[in-house]
Symmetry: C2
Subunit: 281 residues, 2 copies
């Protein structure tokens, strides 16, 4: 695996790779890799002749009171995992390589960014869109792989690529989970050991709604949301931030279940934010 740190090195390496590999697959990450990331990498390697992974903890997507400085990092371990997985190119730029001092440009997807993570983390998706747009322009992949775990992010990036005519296909991959259903996330290391059992609450709430829809045919959204929340509240010390059933295309509210819906939620447990979702129906 080749590792590069500058934009021009990355461009050059991709250009060389493209001649041999044909299709280029791309997995943008913030590092501290886990099974979720690796499942994206494997999918890319299955589908594309060359796979590029980026590791960049993007300051622009963190709010001033968020965990940018303490976000977990382990470059050596990440590189080792990616090398063993057979990745062709690792792009690990420094912050100064991506953002010059007078950096003024931003990319935004309105509407889809308004609610849920967008309202709880102002500016978050603007930071995500801007850095992903930059990375797409640097790597110019044929396909890029994102996890369903960050469903709102996935929909926003798909919409950005579509609206801006970015010539990349966005591929979505299922959420990887621990044995008890907890969605795998780099931030899970923040969960205190004695709270780990309760951290599955959100997953249990989502599963409850899925079962009510798929096995019992409940169609009333208010009833379903209430049942999901009730399940979550059975766990200790869980602060529920949102829990809703929406249209998986545009995140608009759904009144009655008539086809596929996205159930998505966010909780805080001991100050640690966890998000998760399920496509149902």
């Amino acid at each position: 695996m080749k590792t590069v740190k500058t934009v021009s090195e990355a461009r050059e390496a991709v250009q060389t790779m493209r001649q041999e590999a044909g299709k280029i697959g791309f997995v943008p990450t913030m590092g501290y890799l886990h099974e979720g990331h690796l499942s994206l990498v494997r999918k890319s390697m299955e589908e594309c002749g060359g796979t590029v992974v980026s590791i960049f903890v993007n300051p622009m997507q963190f709010g001033p009171s968020e965990d940018y400085a303490r976000y977990p990092r382990d470059a050596a371990r990440d590189a080792d995992l990616l090398g063993k997985a057979g990745v062709d190119l690792l792009f690990m730029p420094a912050v100064e390589e991506m953002y010059e001092k007078k950096f003024f440009t931003s990319v935004e997807v309105s509407e889809l960014s308004r609610r849920f993570e967008g309202s709880l983390r102002p500016g978050h998706f603007k930071g995500v869109c801007t850095v992903v747009c930059k990375l797409f322009n640097i790597v110019s992949p044929d396909r890029a792989y994102f996890g369903w775990k960050d469903a709102q992010q996935l929909l926003i990036i798909k919409k950005m690529a579509r609206d801006l005519n970015i010539p990349v296909e966005i591929i979505s991959c299922p959420t990887s989970r621990e044995d008890d259903g907890l969605a795998i996330s780099s931030r899970n290391i923040y969960i205190p050991a004695d709270r780990r059992r309760d951290a599955a609450a959100l997953y249990k709430g989502l599963s409850k709604v899925r079962d009510l829809i798929e096995q019992q045919g409940v169609r009333n959204t208010s009833v379903l949301e209430e049942e999901g929340k009730k399940t979550i509240r059975k766990y200790q010390g869980i602060e529920l931030q949102y829990f809703e059933i929406v249209d998986p295309e545009d995140l608009s509210p759904v009144k009655e279940i008539n086809g596929k819906v996205l159930v998505l939620g966010a909780v805080r447990i001991d100050g640690v934010r966890l998000i998760d979702n399920m496509l149902v129906g």
Copy 2:
């Protein structure tokens, strides 16, 4: 000259062209072509093996009270001019081809967009950046040509391409002028015939400042701005909107002339907005 109307046709035509032409030059326009546009086209044809021109009156860059509906259009004449000039590909998309109903994405360059045209035309540069970003992604040119006439737009697009790592070189070309100095613009047809003589006022003001700097060595910006404005006010019925001397890199105010400066201004004459500028020193 090949003319296409859809994004996919444009992509295909450019791909074919690239194999034979090598470098692709691109001139994005809103049509109703004049000598200014044609000078950009000639420059592209000198420097690149293939030249693409787009004609698209972009609704997103017009304010609700602006002249989108009555903006001058003459597709047949434009196509004729470009064909005779030897352009390879003309891209003329319909509005629906560029903006689907639920179009949510925007690109913005803060700071550079705040003053001058940005403050007088809220949202204008957001519209410009978004459509130019889209066009760059559709045409993927090696070089794109813009006129100095719209100096703020030029600086903003350069900054956008740099910040977003868009792999295109932005080439700036000098403003084309009428015999009396009036900067050529598609909007000049709005000027009533009996006001045409006074429309050169802004150019005369800019020239005055240039002469004071280059021939008399005046260095005090306030003095220079006052002299320029005085010259403009000698003409009849001119409403001065702004007239300033700024840094040509970032449009920041300049106190004393120490090297290259950009003098830029906007006036209204009989309700018609005219902008112009001069690089001096």
